[in-house]
């Protein structure tokens, strides 16, 4: 059920990314909705299955960014591994910590993905503009992610339907963390 829901969400995000995001660029920044899918998989699944999502989202990123094959998967796997460890260690649950996690992941992915794919062509823009651009994209991505998380929370409150396991997944964490 979780997998199907995430697959549907991934497909929806992919279509939105291609069709609507180009019209929603703010100050040259655009959100990375595919990365959000991976973040949601991380928050929702909370187990090693998230690496399979890293493969899928990495493939999508490589395909639609005309990137070097494999770079997206490798980068996302490394990032999600770190995020997975951080999430497990700090038992991340609050909206703010998730927002920060999404922003950091988006920033790291955006900048490293650009560096990896432009390094070969020797057309790397200068570091300041690259950082600024990646920061803009990351912030936009995190804001959209937070909006989606909030929407999920509101829908869960309004519609009393149990989707198997909600994003908070209280049972998976130990009780020593209360946030």
């Amino acid at each position: 059920m979780k997998w199907i829901s995430l697959l549907l969400f991934c497909y929806l995000m992919l279509i939105v990314q291609i069709s609507f995001v180009p019209d929603a660029i703010i100050a040259g920044s655009r959100p990375n909705l595919i990365l959000l899918v991976l973040c949601f998989a991380l928050f929702w699944l909370r187990d090693a299955q998230v690496f399979l999502w890293a493969i899928l989202t990495g493939l999508i990123c490589e395909t639609f960014d005309a990137a070097i094959p494999g770079t997206g998967i490798l980068l996302l796997t490394c990032l999600v591994w770190m995020a997975f460890r951080v999430q497990a260690h700090f038992q991340i649950r609050s909206l703010i910590s998730r927002f920060v996690l999404m922003a950091v992941m988006a920033f790291a992915f955006d900048s490293l993905f650009q560096i990896l794919n432009r390094l070969d062509a020797k057309m790397l823009p200068d570091l300041i503009s690259l950082t600024r651009h990646s920061a803009g994209n990351a912030l936009y991505t995190a804001v959209v992610g937070m909006g989606l998380l909030l929407a999920c929370k509101i829908i869960q409150r309004l519609i009393p339907v149990d989707f198997g396991q909600n994003l908070q997944n209280r049972t998976a964490y130990e009780s020593r963390f209360s946030h």
């Binding site: 497909y11 929806l12 992919l14 279509i15 291609i18 069709s19 609507f20 187990d47 090693a48 299955q49 690496f51 399979l52 890293a54 493969i55 990495g58 493939l59 999508i60 490589e62 395909t63 005309a66 990137a67 070097i68 094959p69 494999g70 770079t71 997206g72 998967i73 490798l74 996302l76 796997t77 591994w81 997975f84 794919n117 432009r118 070969d120 062509a121 020797k122 057309m123």
Partner: protein, 321 residues
Amino acid sequence: MKRETRSSEIKLALLAILTGICLYAVPSAYSDRVSNLIRDVSKPGLILVQQFKDWQPQTAEVSPELSRVKQLETRLSELQQENRRLALQSLQVNEDLQYLKQTGVPAYQTQTGERLLVPDLIEAELLGQSSIALLKEGQLLNQGRERGVFESSFVLESELPLIDQGTQQGVQAGFSLYAGQAVIGKISEVGHWTSSLIPITSVDYRGSARIARKTEQGLQLGTDGILVGMGEGKCQLLQIPPTESIQVGQEVYTGEVDRELPLNMQSTLGQPMYYGRVIEAELPRGAPYWKIIVEPAVKLAEVKQVSVLRKIVNPRRMLAN
């Protein structure tokens, strides 16, 4: 239990890393298959969205704010044109200065001689569908058909737009067409009275073009490439080497010579003319050239009058003889 979780985590992470390495290592033919599969999967959703976008009704009412916006847009476009003109003027002056620095000023005062061939612009109207229909039916030029006063069937049978100037006015195939300082196409077929034109967005259009960079010293023109139409209101600029610094928003001008035309057919005004603006620039991995998409400055549908550029013998030289 915890150890099992950790073990599966490492296994799946290694699987993901191996997948990435495999995709990097295998020939591109195989990795392309995976990419094509993902593209194919996304296609139905994209088609659905496209249909939804086409179906959306268009709002027809124009509010006063909108008309004010239009006015401001027109003003902005005028100012941009003026800026471009001044930038080109400064480029010309810079080039003259460089030339003088290289060659030095002659010891004696020289007089500028008259050039033998000078560019000459003639005004032409774009013919509407009704006029073309009348021409096709022979209702406009049917009187002199027996004496050869009829329109070339090549022109009339063409699906391309028509202008009201032909061989009678010295128009030849390949001549460039401008709307103000912007290039809109070139002549395809020439009839006695009318000519068909290939818009720059047509897939049949090819022309020499180069990108201008704004620097502190003024406008700097880059290497010549080839501008080809894409058929969807956009053009593509080919053969721009990776050494060029390309950014979205840069302006595209005509090249020095049109490599698609023989030398005797060259029709340039001696100064760069405006094609449009770069809207997408990408340098694919290992590609020898940039992939640049250009949005034309002027759309043919917005133009009623155009200028045809031809070269004529300088009338002053004729009078002097």
